[in-house]
Symmetry: C2
Amino acid sequence: MIPIQKNCKQLAKFYLGATGAAWELKCVSTVSSLFQPICLPPKDATLKKDEPTSKSQKLFSELGIVRQSSPGLFTLTPLGVRSLEKLVKIVDEELKNVGCQKLQLPILTAGNLWKKTGRWESTGLELLTVKDRHGRDYVLSPTHEEAITDLVAYLPQLTHKQLPLKLYQITSKFRDEIKPRFGLLRSREFTMKDLYTFDKTVETAQQTYELVCKAYDTIFQRLNTPFVKVAGSTGNIGGLSSHEYHFPSSIGEDDLRLCPFCHFGTNAELSPLDACTKCGSANMKATKGIEVAHTFLLGTKYSQVLNAFFSSDDGTRSVCQMGCYGIGISRILAASVEVLATDSEIRWPKLIAPYSVCVVAPKGGSKEESAIALAHFVASQIDQMKPFTQDVILDDRSTTTIGKKLIEAKRMGYPFIVVVGRKSMEQVPLVELYDLTKNTQNLFTVAQLFDYLKMSES
Amino acid sequence: MIPIQKNCKQLAKFYLGATGAAWELKCVSTVSSLFQPICLPPKDATLKKDEPTSKSQKLFSELGIVRQSSPGLFTLTPLGVRSLEKLVKIVDEELKNVGCQKLQLPILTAGNLWKKTGRWESTGLELLTVKDRHGRDYVLSPTHEEAITDLVAYLPQLTHKQLPLKLYQITSKFRDEIKPRFGLLRSREFTMKDLYTFDKTVETAQQTYELVCKAYDTIFQRLNTPFVKVAGSTGNIGGLSSHEYHFPSSIGEDDLRLCPFCHFGTNAELSPLDACTKCGSANMKATKGIEVAHTFLLGTKYSQVLNAFFSSDDGTRSVCQMGCYGIGISRILAASVEVLATDSEIRWPKLIAPYSVCVVAPKGGSKEESAIALAHFVASQIDQMKPFTQDVILDDRSTTTIGKKLIEAKRMGYPFIVVVGRKSMEQVPLVELYDLTKNTQNLFTVAQLFDYLKMSES
């Protein structure tokens, strides 16, 4: 065995010169210690032989990112949680940029609130409910219009100066799907971001609506995954108008109509015809989409029934104009992979890959064994580099070959894969960089590698 | 009105010299836009007139940090969520330091797993259960031993090399308390950190247990709130032995016995006698404690029933030795305030105050009005300073006096309060700093203020 720690200190001196003095071999995540319950064949109790599956479901299950525990109920493994937390951070940032504030409502909402709005009845069998020991009804909330409106209704002296209010949370939601399928795309328990806004007038509510939509656009642009925004049906949520964000995909359960001329789009539920209702063009293009977000201009549907009022300048009380806005957080993990992956290899939106960089070390006992220390050093260095802080995983498994590790790293879709192999044994050690975001492959010196990675914003 | 933006640019030049060129007035959180549903009297439906309440419940409710939505169910407002997220970050850091990996199990656990372990029956009325549309039973999990053990049981070829496994999550838990009370201290839905470990032997499980306890010690030391660790009863969780972490407090529901000689402690359930079972001293001191964490050396109670096995070097299969470890995340918010606050003013563990710094600006139309720009500038500067990044709130309310704002900031217990008032109108402007962590009050120039804050690690 190689004394990695000591070897690394020499390498540090070599590559970092005088600055290497302060260098330490920091703890990097390693594949050997990763809890990655790889699943072949999947333990998918609900999945009958001929039942359709989806790319993301298959790849997530096979690669140990998600694991089904019961029909429609999924565990996110450490890899899945990393992706989820990265996505949450992006959503937090963009919503805070437009003045939204994060809170946390209970998952259980009093049944009587749902009875007041009529949704206890209208939601049907999808609604999971529970009785407490005193026989009181609660809803395992699929959404929180009732809960948030009740909260705002009890605000002492809510005035027009405090509006608009923009309150959101990121929590678990429940829907008792008759047919849960496609893994995280249609599950019974899922992570959702739900935002609720309260405004003075229809006009300011419309402005708030546009502001939030702009934040949504930014979120999806940052994810760099093709998306369309279409007019949607308001359904059981209700309200004046709504828009849906979709990732176009053949596996999508919504039929969309997109106008190639004016770029207007609608859900086919709304306008099943071929002509564009906006520009009149006769050739709306049909496509399928996975809904990843939905915005509703609600009006006063909930605020009226639950008494969410504010007082104006002159003291008169008026009912709040509301909006509500969802983003399917866990669904986006699967939907983006659905769109970007090949049948056998995951491709993530770069910003939400579980790790940004995977460093592949040689197998123990191989000809390249002495380069193991270099791999540790390189991984540790990148892991302390600004855009990749604590975002590197080292494949240090001692009994697996470089070739097999490289294949697995590509299947996992780590955006940058660094192979420390045969070429690193040369006089001037070279490493290979696979940049999956550009689909390129380069031989670099270690210094060149660091420069290249620093240049590519994470 | 003062043109704040322009005024601030001049101030920046004045205080920051040449470097001020790059300076910008960044967006700081403000009290005027904060959603803080202050509650006087509390909308606490369950709280009868003579019912006992707790300091944290009263202060959290009055100051808009937590709001009851139904008996035992609470909304965390934006201030509460900020504290919670800070605490989560500390727990994440310390658990990752000892090799724990974060995952996310579903909140709903299949009822049949709970039936297999016998806890479907033994948990009693505290267990909230739900039937899906197909009539299948699920548990709204109060804890996840069954779920995690089932997950590990299905790992293909779990080998001794992969052990110990240390898997945790931070999610909502449910317990149908017969008498929810004291706000977040005994609620029916709460945020918990639960960690589960899997080991080869009783000995390695004991080592893992000690490692995790060390991480717990670090977490509570960082919170800098007095705590004791005592031997506990294993109760419905079961196992070989357990320890409880308590914040000593008269409101605590557990009776503890602490030995003043050897510092051994136990829950009085375990040893109600006055003599120390460790050193024999006759004078165990009685105290009350709020349980904030609990660790269990589980043995094979769950792994045996649910078949969590691993294979040894020689291929033989053995049952995993388990441990489980909880931290009451939302409970700690309340419990630490319970211990540190006065009857009328919150005091937080410094690291989990919703904001670390509150800057108090003068009232509009007051003699000090022209100092409003200085307050904006100071807040914005501190908000970009390393230990306080995005951790500053500016009390910019135009119709409230400095005096009233200062009283409120102290009630909220912001560790550092900067008052930009009368003294800031002098030739060399001075500001007041209230350091609640040291209980001191100083007059500083702006440069001195920045230096002082930089020196105090956040």
